[in-house]
Amino acid sequence: GAGVSQSPSNKVTEKGKDVELRCDPISGHTALYWYRQRLGQGLEFLIYFQGNSAPDKSGLPSDRFSAERTGESVSTLTIQRTQQEDSAVYLCASSPDRESYGYTFGSGTRLTVV
């Protein structure tokens, strides 16, 4: 598509439930990133995918967080047993390759855990 698409745009869930967030990168972009942004704060790196290489999961805050990507297409970020501190905007970005800093971000998924 023309840009990075994320769904849902908003998600309200009860504490303890699992949620799945989806990211459709720009076609042909081999690199895909997930970031988390808490209210009024900067972006926090979560995970990075590059082609068929093993993902860099070093930013995932706990083992409740996981992400998958099929080839160079869609990625899903899953948060299990959500907690209130997971409330944030989850942003996905893609770029043509790992050395390209012209990232294109999606509009994010606003997650609210109640």
């Binding site: 990075v4 690199a31 990133y33 970031y35 009024g40 704060q41 900067g42 972006l43 790196f45 990075y48 590059q50 860099d56 930013g59 942003l91 996905c92 970005a93 790992r98 050395e99 800093y101 012209g102 990232y103 294109t104 971000f105 999606g106 509009s107 994010g108 606003r110």
Partner: protein, 110 residues
């Protein structure tokens, strides 16, 4: 990654030039300076990148002095729609983990 420091907020009026200075004293030789803009409820948007001297595009200009310890993003003749958060990042080599701080909130008033 280079650590960057920038003002928390800046206020301006329509038609004025806004200059945001970012400090990056420990920038590495192969680091670039990259600026992103973020509007409410949107992801950040790449606006400009430079290594040294001056870079200009349709959105902004970026001035980087010879010592590269700081840089200035210049937004000419701002409008209300330029109200956003602006992030300065040091980006280099194969380090893809962009480090976004709190950024500078620019508020443009009529």
């Amino acid at each position: 990654l280079a650590k960057t420091t920038q003002p928390i907020s800046m206020d301006s009026y329509e038609g004025q030039e806004v200059n945001i200075t970012c400090s990056h004293n420990n920038i590495a030789t192969n680091d670039y300076i990259t600026w992103y803009q973020q509007f409410p409820s949107q992801g950040p948007r790449f606006i400009i990148q430079g290594y040294k001297t001056k870079v200009t595009n349709e959105v902004a200009s970026l001035f980087i002095p010879a010592d590269r310890k700081s840089s200035t993003l210049s937004l000419p003749r701002v409008s209300l729609s330029d109200t956003a958060v602006y992030y300065c990042l040091g980006t280099g080599g194969l380090d893809y983990k962009l480090s976004f701080g709190a950024g500078t909130t620019v508020t443009v008033r009529a």
